[in-house]
Symmetry: C2
Subunit: 223 residues, 2 copies
DNA sequence: GCAAAAGTGTTAGGTATACACCCATGC
DNA sequence: GCATGGGTGTATACCTAACACTTTTGC
């Protein structure tokens, strides 16, 4: 594969990937510290890096997450391409942003020197245009929650209906009726009863469910 | 603005823009002939071109559509970024694809040497990865039709309810009940009666409506 | 037995669907 | 007066939303 003619190769192409995880009542996002004087001093930013000439954008995302965050095997989807001329004040960098989602256990056990999960309400004034990327990400997440099975990627393999309901409540910032939520979600026929129950809880153990399909599915109904 | 360091500038960044318009019962798309031996011989392809160092992707789209197709002032939205390494067999070119929508009169009056509107069922075996871009475009269009006011950009400023219904029927490839469609669309409170009616038609003249908002709005209900 | 979360049904109001005939206009 | 598409209402089935108490478990 030849390179493009020099005159067209003015920009670098990057990927940036906010990785989200939900623990308890809080949404977390993976960030690392960005220190690039003079413009970006001790700010948080998502993991990101340059796309290589042999890679697709998605391959670059996987490589960057593994190299810089030791994260792999997660749900990824392309979010949007950010191309504002001054989005990186140092150079022209066009960024293809992706969203990553991980289940709670990955957030809880995460231990790396360079990156960590922070509650999103503690993220403001991020490096580059990452404030905007965060905003677009959350809008996308909220939207897809309503008409797809994307919630599965924020949950453990098996989970209780209350946990699933919490995903909706936190991300949509709303309170749902337990009985109605259960009726609706079970009627969608996307879950299966694992036959198991919670163990070691102090209250009545809840039935554990899992998604019938491990892929993102579109729903007919809106939750 | 400095250029990115040379080692990162391996690829060219392009935009590609299928522009759609609906006339009668057919969806049309703007294409031009691509002749780039040895890989692309006399194929159709969407309008596209390289992003310049001073431009955002959207600015490049506007410039390219105007320069190569003499089209401006249309609805545009970013579709997806296509980055397969071999998507352009000649060089590494990453493309940020957009969708454009124009009203029927722009399709009907379109006359340019280099580009023309073709019915989409006549488009196959397009240049580059444009077959895939077309597929993704149509999926997006169909999806957004259901929960946004995107239909407005495929219609004249004022239109009949039957014309609006036809947009849904053609793009979703379905037949809708006239009475139910009218009830539903009027209940959404997104249209206003212009007070005018069709003229010069051989049947009872239909009331002309327009959208209250000229921007893309999200709907609560699904059509 | 108490604390904590799980689990479960009914009713009323609203929405979606199915369906057929008269109306206004031009020729 | 006829051909053409415009415009309208109702009844039924379904879905949605509101609402509170009993069950199971660990301690």
């Amino acid at each position: 594969m030849k390179k493009a003619p020099e005159k067209f190769r003015f920009a670098a192409m990057a990927v940036d990937v906010p990785v989200f995880g939900l623990v308890g009542e809080k949404l977390y996002c993976l960030v690392s510290t960005v220190n690039r004087p003079p413009h970006y001093l001790n700010k948080f930013g998502f993991l990101g890096g340059m796309i290589k000439s042999s890679e697709t954008a998605e391959e670059a995302v996987c490589r960057v997450l593994f190299e810089k965050g030791n994260i792999k095997d997660l749900y990824l989807e392309q979010l949007y391409t950010f191309s504002a001329v001054e989005r990186d004040k140092r150079n022209r960098v066009v960024s293809v942003a992706y969203i990553g989602l991980v289940p709670p256990e990955k957030v809880l056990t995460y231990k790396q020197d360079e990156a960590s999960f922070k509650p999103i309400d503690e993220l403001s004034s991020l490096a580059y245009d990452h404030d905007e990327i965060l905003k677009v990400s959350l809008t996308r997440l909220r939207g897809k929650l309503s008409y797809t099975t994307i919630a599965q990627f924020l949950l453990p393999k098996s989970f209780t209906l209350t946990e699933l309901q919490t995903v909706y409540e936190i991300l949509k910032n709303t309170k749902l009726d337990k009985r109605n939520f259960r009726k609706k979600i079970l009627a969608l026929d996307i879950l299966k009863d694992t036959g198991k129950s919670q163990e070691g809880v102090q209250n009545r153990p809840a039935t554990l469910y899992s998604f019938k399909s491990k892929k993102l599915e579109e729903l007919n109904l809106v939750i």
